[in-house]
């Protein structure tokens, strides 16, 4: 593995460290499920902790919809830019970077550094924009595997991810069964339900029907379809929270007044203000084409599809040990969906531990610091053997 030129300097107060984003251009073309081929695919990634002598301690973290390779730590020049899973991953944390070498990777099609719609299409010399080919979870996993090849990593101790990241972790065990010893699939599902696809479609329509979208070529017009992105984020955000949490946080509280203002256009309730704020924030940093691509990858993921809908048959290839975690109030990726994965693994006799964490926060719970959840992840990772004496997976 090429050694990242990374200083392990821990900042004092938060037990975190300085992360450094790196990029690597894949030496081989990436052939996509859609039939397209991408060349010179740039992968953005970060590495925390050191690989051990036989590289048996490498953990790959796959990201969900709006995240990136910046999984843990902060940047030297941006001390407030904390990695999205920093509460779980770091020195002394449940995924202990003093023991594991953790790699965060950004997926193809993203807007955070890996090859995506904002890059130039070599065929036209113009930005890909809306012409960027559709990518799937399987394509992402292929790209991640190619990155590991380039880094000289043969096998992962653990591949882990939440939500869409969990789908990638699951797919890893099917696409590269011999390269994964453990998979942590958190708040995820074996495919999306019709309702879930429906939410994605509403988000996509919001973006595509924004007059500034220009079929994805907004860059050429010098505009951004921010209105569409805002609406997309608002609907997404609603589905990531639970009804209880939203009621507890906002209830029917009014934004400014004690009395109703009898307005249909202005912000009246605090929840409206919150959603608009989230939408605005999101539309400032996220790319519309990326949003379309990533939600589509979610929709398409369905490993059982080529096995007549039988998930157990699809998962029969997996050789990894599994940790599956769901959260009781998650209705976007409900415990029932995780239990489907567990049942398929049980039917195959695959080693799996499954926990249903009683947390109030809905789908977002997988990103939050919950003592039971983190204790469980810590216990699981403590049991992952590394070093020359490790047994077979």
């Amino acid at each position: 593995m090429t050694q990242p030129s990374k200083a392990r300097c821990y900042t004092e107060k938060s037990m975190t460290f300085i992360a450094q984003a790196q990029t690597l251009t894949l030496p081989k073309p990436l052939v996509l499920r859609s039939g397209h081929t991408l060349t010179d695919v740039r992968m953005a990634y970060e590495i925390y902790g050191q690989p051990n002598a036989d590289q048996s301690n490498v953990v790959l973290v796959c990201h969900a919809l709006n995240a990136s390779h910046h999984v843990a730590g902060v940047y030297a020049d941006a001390p407030n830019d904390v990695g999205w899973w920093d509460n779980l991953i770091g020195p002394g944390k449940p995924v202990d970077t003093d023991r594991f070498c953790v790699i965060g990777v950004n997926n193809v099609g993203s807007c955070f550094g890996s090859y995506g719609p904002q890059d130039v299409n070599p065929a036209t010399g113009e930005h890909w924009g809306g012409d960027f080919p559709v990518v799937t979870v399987e394509d992402w996993v292929d790209a991640q595997a190619a990155l590991l090849d380039a880094l000289g990593i043969a096998q992962l101790a653990v591949v882990m991810g939440g939500s869409l990241g969990g789908m990638q972790a699951l797919s890893w065990t099917l696409q590269y069964p011999d390269r994964v010893r453990h998979a942590a699939v958190i708040a995820s599902a074996p495919n999306l339900t019709a309702e879930n696809i429906a939410f994605n479609e509403v988000a996509r329509r919001a973006i595509v029907t924004d007059p500034d979208f220009h079929e994805g070529h907004y860059a050429r017009h010098g505009v951004l379809p921010k209105r569409g992105l805002r609406i997309a984020r608002m609907i997404g955000h609603i589905t990531y929270l639970s009804d209880d949490v939203m009621n507890e946080k906002f209830g029917r509280l009014l934004q400014d007044a004690v009395q109703y203002q009898y307005t249909t256009q202005a912000v009246e309730f605090q929840i409206e203000s919150y959603l608009r704020h989230q939408g605005n924030k999101f539309s400032d940093y996220f790319d519309a084409n990326t949003y379309l691509l990533i939600t589509r990858a979610l929709d398409y993921f369905d490993p059982a599809r080529e096995h007549g809908g039988q998930l157990a048959k699809a998962l029969a290839r997996a050789k990894a040990h599994f940790l599956v975690v769901s959260f009781t109030t998650d209705w976007r990726f409900s415990p029932q969906r995780s239990r489907e994965i567990v049942k398929a693994l049980l039917d195959n006799g695959t080693p799996v531990s499954y926990a249903e964490i009683d947390a109030p926060h809905g789908h977002d719970a997988f990103l939050l610091n919950d003592a039971r959840y983190h204790a469980l992840v810590r216990a699981y990772f403590d049991g992952v053997t590394t070093g020359p004496t490790r047994g077979a997976a």
């Binding site: 940790l323 006799g349 799996v352 531990s353 499954y354 964490i357 204790a375 469980l376 049991g383």
Partner: protein, 196 residues
């Protein structure tokens, strides 16, 4: 029920190399023992967060499920042995669970506190519900909502068409075969569902 002798006595009922499902597996001690000493494989099922964590800490595969919702997660005859060590008495649908156990496993091993143990009988004769080392709860706060006797289970097993392969009483991990319904605080049954 967690002392070492009890664990060994019950482990002796499990053939080496079995695929085991331990319903209500607690902290995973039994499964861990079977995996380590008898080459078994398998899963525990638990509802309690602390026990799930304890199992993961031991490296025992555990699935967090509510047994009251049945065993639909598990396929027919998918395990060699299904254990229900002191679990049945906590379940509202105890009979369904017994049938499910026989469906999922080729062999079932069930233990539960024997209500007909003589100190319990004395206590009831004295007009009070038993409170003993084995049944330490008051009647109003006991988690044991299905308290039966060694003899009762024989009847239930027969009613459900189960073939009892072995049955005995257990006292502090010692096997009691003489008058188990009277002399043992724990009932132990090993059974199978005869081929149709």
């Amino acid at each position: 029920m967690s002392n070492l002798r009890t664990l060994h006595t019950l482990a002796n009922l499990v053939p080496p190399g079995s695929r085991v499902l331990d319903l209500g597996c607690g902290d995973g001690a039994m499964l861990h023992h079977l995996i380590q000493t008898k080459g078994c494989t398998g899963y525990g099922v638990e509802i309690d967060d602390a026990n799930v964590l304890a199992c993961v800490k031991r490296g025992v595969s555990v699935v967090q499920l509510n047994l009251e919702q049945g065993l639909s997660t598990f396929a027919d005859q998918s395990f060699d042995v299904v254990l229900q060590i002191d679990t049945l008495q906590h379940l509202r649908n105890a009979e369904t669970m017994l049938r499910e156990t026989a469906r999922v496993g080729r062999m079932g091993i069930v233990t539960f506190p024997n209500f007909a143990h003589w100190p319990n009988r004395l206590r009831v004769l004295g007009g009070r519900m038993p409170v003993t080392k084995r049944l330490p709860y008051q009647w109003y706060d006991t988690p044991n909502i299905r308290v039966g006797t060694w003899a009762d289970f024989e009847v239930l097993a027969e009613k459900n068409g189960l073939r009892v392969l072995d049955a005995f009483g257990m006292e502090e991990g010692e096997v009691i075969r003489r008058w188990p319904n009277l002399m043992a605080s724990t009932a132990v049954f090993k059974f199978e569902r005869p081929a149709a």
